[in-house]
């Protein structure tokens, strides 16, 4: 049972009204002077009870009427199974779908993991009252934006992460930042190993395919850029077990100018301290929420060669209908940090599979299970749809009406009893 208008319980104070009327309105016995009460004392006459039993019943009826009226005004709602199911459906869901390269693997059933993930996301979205789906290759970075959206929703809230939960996809610290009132659900998508990972993109007019063949040893990363008739196929052979070697080779490839395919659909601006339009861009900046840019930021933070110690702040500018990533830097344009930041940005913009994506191990199931929790169980007033028909107050009002009839009948009976008593006394005296 929930009370949609709990302030109405202040009306319980009105039960003092029938009690006061009962105490003050009782028939006062007429007072007579008498020469001496001596003989009445001797006769040990007990005083009569002024409150007859049916007076108490009448008082109880009146007090109950006032109490039930206060309860009815408090708009009760009895939560039966049907209503509870309805309330459960009234949930806001933010669904983060992992679109990293590892999700290109196949599921045991034969379909692509990414397709399964999208299917799950669609199912969850249809089940919820309101939902938002965030497709990102960096689920961990998307959590803050998802939480911010959920906190603006009035109903019960749930964060769902659909991923293969490859090691590095997400960690406990990201989950710890989710408020306790928001539920967390992780939906792991099973994938098979040792299959190539491909990412396709259109870069200017060129069709770019970045492909990673994950084998036991060695791991081959290749990408193919096809433009008109030109075809560029740089290839780097890596030992996936030696991650540091992978990092060095990636940096070497960058510095040596090996062309790494860059997704130019993402617009990134590095805003240095002295930039003329820094203030204006600061005013226009908003949290990063578009999937592609979230992905870029995630890769930027994950880049081992550009630690967060660089001290930049990421934001999104949607002026003019174009989603632009703003990186507010504290370092001057000519500094080494700025160069590192730019290089890291280029790598983040690259559609080549990230190093982490080569790692086939997944987060332990027990850890994933420990993150999960249900959304806040007690439906809030906001979660109850006021347009879902009348509240249960109508039943209480019906009882109140019945009690009013009972009270009227009791009053009539009491009056008749008093008249009969007086007549009997009068006959006795006569």
């Amino acid at each position: 049972m929930i009370w949609q208008n709990p302030w109405a319980w202040l009306g319980l104070a009105t039960i003092a009204i029938p009690i006061l009327i009962h105490l003050l309105g009782r028939d006062k016995a007429p007072r007579h002077s008498f020469p001496s009460l001596r003989f009445i004392e001797i006769a040990e006459l007990p005083p009569t009870r002024r409150t007859r039993l049916h007076d108490l019943v009448l008082l109880a009826a009146r007090v109950t009427i006032f109490a039930l009226a206060a309860a009815a005004l408090a708009q009760p709602l009895l939560l039966d199974a049907r209503r509870r199911a309805s309330i459960d459906r009234r949930i806001a869901r933010a669904i983060i779908v992992d679109t990293s390269a590892s999700m290109q693997r196949l599921t045991p059933s034969g379909g692509l993991a990414i397709d399964s993930a999208r299917g799950e996301a669609r199912r969850l979205a249809s089940d919820a009252q309101t939902s938002v789906a965030i497709l990102t290759s960096a689920p961990s970075a998307a959590i803050s934006g998802a939480v911010e959206w959920l906190e603006s929703q009035p109903s019960r809230r749930e964060l769902v992460i659909v991923s293969d939960f490859q090691t590095g996809t997400i960690d406990s610290s990201a989950i710890a930042g989710v408020p306790l009132a928001i539920g967390v659900r992780a939906i792991p998508i099973s994938t098979t190993d040792n299959l190539p990972i491909e990412r396709r993109s259109l870069v200017r007019d060129a069709s770019v395919v970045a492909r990673v063949d994950v084998a036991a040893n060695p791991t081959v990363v290749s990408w193919t850029i096809a433009h008109d008739s030109a075809r560029l196929e740089p290839r780097i052979t890596l030992d996936a077990k030696d991650r540091s070697a992978v990092e060095i080779l990636t940096a070497a490839a960058t510095t040596l100018g090996v062309a790494a395919p860059i997704d130019t659909s993402a617009v990134v601006t590095v805003v240095t301290p002295n930039a003329e339009n820094r203030d204006e861009l600061t005013r226009r900046s908003a949290p990063v929420f578009s999937p592609r840019l979230t992905d870029v930021v995630a890769r930027l933070y994950a880049d081992p060669l550009s630690p967060s110690a660089l001290g930049f702040k990421a934001a999104e500018d949607t002026a003019g209908g174009v989603h632009r990533l703003l990186l507010f830097s504290n370092d001057s344009v000519a500094s080494v940090n700025s160069a590192i930041l730019v290089a890291a940005t280029r790598r983040a913009l690259s559609i080549a599979p990230a190093v982490e994506e080569l790692d086939p191990s997944t987060i332990p199931t027990s850890l994933i299970a420990s993150w999960q929790r249900a959304p806040s169980a007690t439906p809030t007033r906001e979660s109850v749809d006021p347009t879902n028909g009348p509240s249960d107050a109508r039943w209480l009002w019906a009882v109140v009406l019945a009690l009013l009839g009972v009270e009227a009948w009791l009053r009539r009976e009491q009056r008749a009893a008093m008249v009969a008593l007086k007549e009997r006394a009068h006959d006795r005296a006569a």
């Binding site: 007579h32 006394a425 005296a429």
Partner: protein, 317 residues
Amino acid sequence: MPPAPSSPATSSALSADVVAAIDDLELAARIIVEGLRTGGHRSPFHGYSTEFKQHRPYRAGDDLKHLDWKLYARSDRLYTRQYLETTNLSMMIVLDTSASMGFPETGISKLRYGAIAAAALAYLASEQGNAVGLMSMSGEKLTYVPARGGRVHLRSLLSRIDRLTAGGAWDPPRAISRGAQLLQRRGVVVVISDFYDAEDATRREIRHVVQRGHDVAMLQLISRAEMDLSFSGQVELEDLESGERRLVDAATANARYRTAMKDFLDRCRASALRDGVDHALIVTDMPPAAALRDYLLRRARRVASTESASIMHGGSR
């Protein structure tokens, strides 16, 4: 419990309400006394001193009880004893003015009835040359009018009686004792009260007064409304003297109250009888003249029987 049956009221016996309505207490008293005289009742308030004065030859018409038979036996002549002039007795009226005497509050109160009775008795006694005084209480203080004779004194006494109001406490042993003390010689102490207060102490004091040689009369006044609880339903009764309030159901309380009241009145009568005290229970709806007549008749019979007993035993007491 109804009072002792009274002799048939004469047409001159005005009802208590009518008598009470007479503002002039002296007039009311006179009316009552005239009514008593009309009935041919001798006042029992005459001295019964039997101090022998002299003999004189019997004349026709002399009361045979005053013939000296011994002298006749000796002298073969009839002589009538003559006594000293009948001594005027003193009467002290002790009138209860406590709050309970103010009941009932509508109609004739016990105090008003008592005042009328006291006035009538004072008038009767005074007309016969007796000294009459008054003892009452005002608050905690005893107030009294010394026993004197004469018309002027009577008027003053009646005026004082007329001004009495019911209220406050009442100390009957003290009032009766002091009243008897103020009588310079043996006399009559008439106590007019409901005798609710200090029942045992009052009885003891009356016994003392009798032992000191006075003649005591108890005129016990009760209103009809006190004979039973003539209320209906639940009532709150307030004691006129103590102010105590008690809530009772009249219907269920009545029987036990009547029994308690009857027991009290019986006790008063029995103790008066035992102590040789005149006792009259007067319900205040009786015409005062009729009530006093009954009392005076009984007293006269008692006085006469006392004198007869004295003669039978030969001579003065």
